[in-house]
């Protein structure tokens, strides 16, 4: 086909309007969230003492951290869905959840504790945590990748990794309401390992499916 013919054809299709990436990403995540939620409610469920737990600031902090991760990752992902974008000037957003958890660890250290730090770090639920977060992430990861496929990321693996962070952040938000380990030391260890697994999976899948 001659290029001139292709140009004429593209011009004839000018009226077609694609939705913004943010819109598709939102839809895809909203479609995936009930699946993860259902998985969570059937397999785990909210911890029975949640009403009392809410008065513990370290319980609440878990949600602040996981939601901060999900939101900052969404912002970075939307930025990276443009072909000319790079992480420059945007990567710091992903340090927000890191800063929050670091502040949490600092405050916990300053308060008197019943259990030694190592016991709090190891906790009771590390194995469930490392299984549940990646599994609950899967529908959300699929949703995030579908949303980002609508964009044009110059670095598909990087965008896929960020999709992994979005889904891990949201899955961890669900899981945090089940888990009875509230110490920031537990969160920084096991949640991070689970998040790293999802991020690696996202990068791997993203490098295949996010090429445009």
């Amino acid at each position: 086909m001659e290029t001139e013919q292709l140009i004429r054809t593209l011009a004839a299709d000018n009226r077609y309007r694609a939705r913004p990436v943010g819109f598709i990403l939102t839809l895809a995540l909203l479609a995936a969230a009930p699946v993860s939620f259902l998985m969570f409610m059937t397999a785990l469920g909210v911890r029975p003492d949640v009403m009392t737990a809410m008065h513990n600031p370290f319980f609440d902090l878990k949600f602040v951290v996981t939601l901060a991760l999900a939101i900052s990752a969404i912002i970075v992902a939307l930025h990276l869905s443009r072909p000319e974008a790079s992480m420059k000037g945007w990567g710091w957003l992903l340090l927000i959840p890191v800063g929050i958890i670091a502040a949490g660890i600092g405050s916990e250290m300053m308060l008197p504790q019943r259990l030694p730090a190592m016991t709090r770090l190891i906790g009771q639920n590390s194995r469930i945590c490392m299984t549940a977060i990646p599994l609950l992430s899967l529908p959300l990861l699929a949703g995030a990748l579908v949303g980002l496929r609508h964009g044009a990321p110059a670095r598909p693996a990087l965008a896929g990794a960020i999709a992994g962070l979005i889904s891990a952040g949201l899955a961890a938000t669900l899981y945090a309401s089940h888990c009875t380990d509230d110490s920031p030391l537990f969160v920084v260890t096991w949640y991070s390992i689970a998040t790293a697994m999802v991020t690696a999976a996202g990068a791997l899948i993203g490098s295949k499916v996010l090429r445009f």
Binding site: T3, L6, I7, A12, A152, F212
Partner: protein, 181 residues
């Protein structure tokens, strides 16, 4: 910044606001620049230059289908060249070369007219044969016979809306097949 890039930005804004002829002019204006960049990249990779038109067409398709990722308040050129680089790297990799495309392969090129005004490429034409028949007929009617949407609709006894849908699907389908190669 090259003279004319501001004009591209203006044309793309017009195109997005629904001006088909501005869009046509924009694509015509950027094509020689894309072609020169593609040839430069091919030369750097030691590949025959006659493949440049395939790459140009791939870039144009990507530009078309990813227009919504352009920020209308930003200049067009950085976005356009980012897509072009991405497609050039892809195309060279597919041909078995791991090459680094110079960041300025596109930005620094001097617009180049094709050897003939009718520069032709094979890839898109070949893949055209794998499209569903209706999509292929619509695309060919508009591309090759330069029929309008309305004439095409009349010819195939379709509604104009159905022609538009078939046309857009044909373009998305072609792009997906190019990516799969």
């Amino acid at each position: 910044m090259r003279e004319g890039e501001d004009e591209w930005t203006g044309l793309m804004r017009l195109a997005i606001s629904g001006n088909n002829s501005a869009y046509h002019r924009l694509l015509k204006a950027v094509t020689p620049v894309l072609r020169a960049g593609a040839r430069r990249g091919l030369a750097r990779a030691g590949q025959p230059l006659d493949q440049s038109e395939d790459i140009v067409q791939e870039i144009l398709l990507a530009v078309h289908l990813k227009r919504h990722t352009w920020d209308v308040n930003a200049p067009l050129a950085p976005w356009l060249f980012a897509i072009a680089r991405n497609k050039l790297i892809d195309a060279l990799r597919r041909r078995g070369r791991r090459v680094f495309v110079n960041i300025d392969d596109f930005a620094e090129t001097i617009p180049e007219e094709p050897a003939a005004e009718t520069a032709s490429a094979n890839e898109v034409a070949t893949l055209l044969q794998t499209l569903p028949p209706r999509q292929r007929e619509v695309l060919q009617s508009i591309a090759v016979e330069s029929a309008s949407i309305r004439d095409t609709a009349a010819k195939f006894a379709m509604s104009e809306g159905a022609v538009r849908v078939a046309l857009h699907r044909a373009l998305t389908g072609l792009t997906a097949k190019l990516r799969e190669q």
